[in-house]
């Protein structure tokens, strides 16, 4: 009773906070969020808006000095009617799905598990080796791969396999997808590898000891303890690498240029780049290329939303707790 009365008194005695006080209270929040917000606006939101506007025009290197002509959704209609649209879309999903599952997540997880279950120093050494492709300049890295898979009488593979009676061939030409995926996968695996192995090493030793004493084999302790405990980095890497593979094309450009032949290894981002900025006759179709780019942005956003829903990220992000131990 007394408390209730006192409580009411306090509320009655309080003035509603002034506008100035409210402003002051939110100032700190704005101050901290401000720089990031400006960055997102200037470097993501604005470019996307500009991209969309350009995609509605026929802007190209032949008419850029004239006033802009808006052509409505013509560029999009042209895009979806393109004879190679299904092929490029299929290529893109094949490239992302196979590279992601085999290397960026699969190989990364396998290597993380292996390098954390061997001698610490040896594990560190192997992780370092797997970082090399990432820190090698892309042009040099691709040159190496091209030398490896070069046509006879050249090519490292040919030279190595010749003693075993394997017919020399132009490997890159015969197996373009294999090399596109290997080239990207060897770079991509290290990202997940670093995240997964640090997550695995952060699992308290006692938990693994407890599992062993409880009767778990190494495989069972990985399945029941390690994997559930690195769920968050697993999902993060899957999502992040999906999006980064969707938009990556530089290794493919340098390795096969989307070939051999017509659109054999051409992915969406590469098409957008070629239409907008690189054509054989120097005719850059900025408006049409922007349409390709904008559709890719939409695909990326859609994928993000799907991942957020499917993986229920909100539930994964827990309140941080300060651990006493």
């Amino acid at each position: 009773m007394a408390e209730a009365v006192m409580g009411r008194k306090v509320i009655r005695g309080q003035k509603p906070p002034s506008r100035w006080a409210q402003f002051k209270a939110t100032m700190g929040a704005w101050g901290f969020m401000g720089p990031a917000t400006v960055l997102v606006l200037v470097f993501f939101f604005l470019p996307v808006v500009i991209l969309f506007v350009i995609s509605l025009t026929d802007l190209s290197s032949s008419n850029f000095s004239d006033p802009l002509t808006f052509v409505g959704l013509n560029n999009y209609v042209r895009l979806f009617r393109d004879r190679f649209f299904p092929k490029i879309l299929g290529n893109t999903f094949f490239y992302v799905a196979v590279t992601l599952s085999c290397f960026n997540v699969g190989m990364a997880l396998l290597l993380a598990l292996l390098t954390t279950h061997i001698n610490r120093r040896a594990g560190f050494f192997f992780r370092l080796i797997w970082l090399l492709p990432r820190i090698t300049p892309s042009v040099i890295y691709i040159l190496m791969w091209r030398r490896i898979s070069h046509q006879p009488p050249f090519g490292l593979i040919n030279q190595l396999l010749a003693p075993f009676g394997v017919e020399p061939q132009y490997w890159l030409f015969e197996q373009p997808w294999l090399f596109v995926i290997l080239v990207n996968g060897f770079v991509g695996a290290s990202f997940g590898l670093i995240l997964f192995s640090s997550a695995i090493e952060a699992i308290p030793r006692d938990l693994i000891t407890a599992a062993k004493v409880d009767g778990a084999s190494t495989w069972q302790s990985i399945r029941d303890i390690v994997l559930p405990m690195i769920r968050w980095p697993l999902l993060f890497v899957t999502t992040y690498q999906t999006l980064s593979l969707l938009t990556s094309f530089e290794y493919i450009l340098l390795l096969t240029e989307g070939g051999p032949g017509l659109y054999t290894t051409e992915v969406w981002a590469l098409t957008a780049y070629k239409r907008a900025l690189k054509t054989y006759f120097g005719h850059n179709q900025w408006g049409y290329g922007a349409a390709w780019g904008f559709v890719l942005v939409i695909i990326g956003i859609a994928m993000s939303i799907i991942y957020l829903r499917v993986f229920r990220f909100n539930e994964l992000v827990q309140e941080p707790k300060i651990d006493v131990l």
Partner: protein, 357 residues
């Protein structure tokens, strides 16, 4: 189950974890490994669990060498200081995990997990995650998980160190009662000598990877074989004073500057004529009286039931437990009466007891 350690040794390069440990644990016995941190007690425990492979020596379970038996095949239960509960599993899943690995049918698993949980008083918390439990509840889950597969050997690695003082006290008696009731052979690692003394049937005192003593709590307390044991066991710790024991007119006198006490002959004769020896006496065996050795009160610490008083006898400093009613003050001069039937003597170079060699 009987456990024997024979010359058990663990080395990592030049670092010695455990050095030629020899001891046996009888069936249903409760043994504590006691020692300061880094003494090798946990290393030894992890070898018994099968997590560490011994560098040399043997571990026998019921006479069978188990050095190369995997932890999962040793049928042991283990409780950790950190509880080591699986954070992504709820209480039921945590407790039933050992049964799941044994491929025990679901309904039996349910029954056994529930029985153990009820025994531990956490039967109503089965669908909680560890993060939603208090420290005491977490430790009960950990105990339940260790007990559910009905192990032949229970290993405890400082299980109470993370609990608050009151809870530690009640869990201490609960674990002891549980162990006695179930009759499971147990090894309990602790640095807390009160835990070791109150819970264990026998205590293995360890230091620098070596076994210092292995005997019952009473024997450790009353007949410490080394200076280390005498100083480590007992709280507040034993006082040590360097002095000489001489025989005069048929009496044995322990003497140093400002100190001359007659020692009963059964103890005195073993220390007499050995030059400088170390006399050990516990704070509770010294009383403040009207006559005896003069001393000066230096610091008074209130422990509630007693005052712990730091006194100076000449150059030497000793601790005495005194009744707070006496109201001793700093700088006050008092006289001390030593219970000479409880004094210990140690050789200052070998640090071995002169009485219980």
């Amino acid at each position: 189950m009987k456990v024997e350690l024979e010359n058990l040794t663990k080395r990592w390069g030049n670092v010695v974890g455990a050095d030629s440990m020899n001891l046996d644990v009888k069936d249903a016995e409760f043994v504590a490994f006691l020692g300061p941190s880094g003494c090798g007690k946990t290393t030894t425990l992890l070898m018994v669990a099968g997590i560490y492979k011994p560098t040399a020596g043997f571990i026998r379970f019921d006479g069978q060498v188990v050095n190369h038996v995997a932890p999962k095949d040793r049928n042991i239960g283990m409780v950790f200081q950190s509880y080591a509960l699986y954070p992504h599993m709820n209480v039921f899943q945590n407790i039933s995990y050992p049964l799941k690995l044994k491929k025990i049918p679901k309904d039996e698993m349910q029954k056994r997990a529930q029985r153990v949980a009820d025994m531990m008083g956490i039967g109503h918390l089965m669908d909680r995650r560890p993060a939603q439990l208090s420290g005491g509840q977490q430790q009960r889950v950990a105990l339940g998980r260790a007990l559910v597969k009905e192990p032949q050997l229970l290993l405890f690695d400082e299980p109470l160190s993370n609990l608050d003082a009151r809870l530690r006290l009640s869990m201490r008696s609960e674990i002891k009662r549980l162990q006695m009731g179930l009759g499971i052979t147990s090894v309990y690692v602790t640095h807390d000598q009160v835990e070791a003394m109150t819970m264990a049937d026998r205590v293995a005192v360890m230091k620098d990877g070596k076994l210092q003593a292995y005997s019952t709590p009473d024997e450790l307390y009353d007949r410490p074989r080394t200076l280390f044991i005498a100083g480590f066991v007992g709280n507040p710790p034993m006082n040590f004073l360097e002095m000489e024991v001489v025989r005069e007119n048929g009496d044995y006198h322990a003497r140093r500057e400002g100190f001359d006490v007659v020692i009963p002959s059964d103890r005195g004769e073993k220390a007499a004529g050995k030059g400088n020896v170390i006399l050990g006496i516990r704070p509770e065996d010294i009383t403040i009286s009207d006559e005896g050795t003069p001393a000066e009160v230096f610091i008074v610490e209130s422990l509630g039931r007693d005052d712990l008083i730091n006194m100076h006898i000449g150059e030497a400093s000793i601790h005495v437990l005194a009744d707070p009613v006496l109201g001793l003050k700093m700088g006050q001069n008092v006289r001390l009466d030593f219970n000479t039937h409880k004094v210990q003597f140690f050789d200052p170079t070998t640090e071995k007891s002169l009485l219980w060699a």
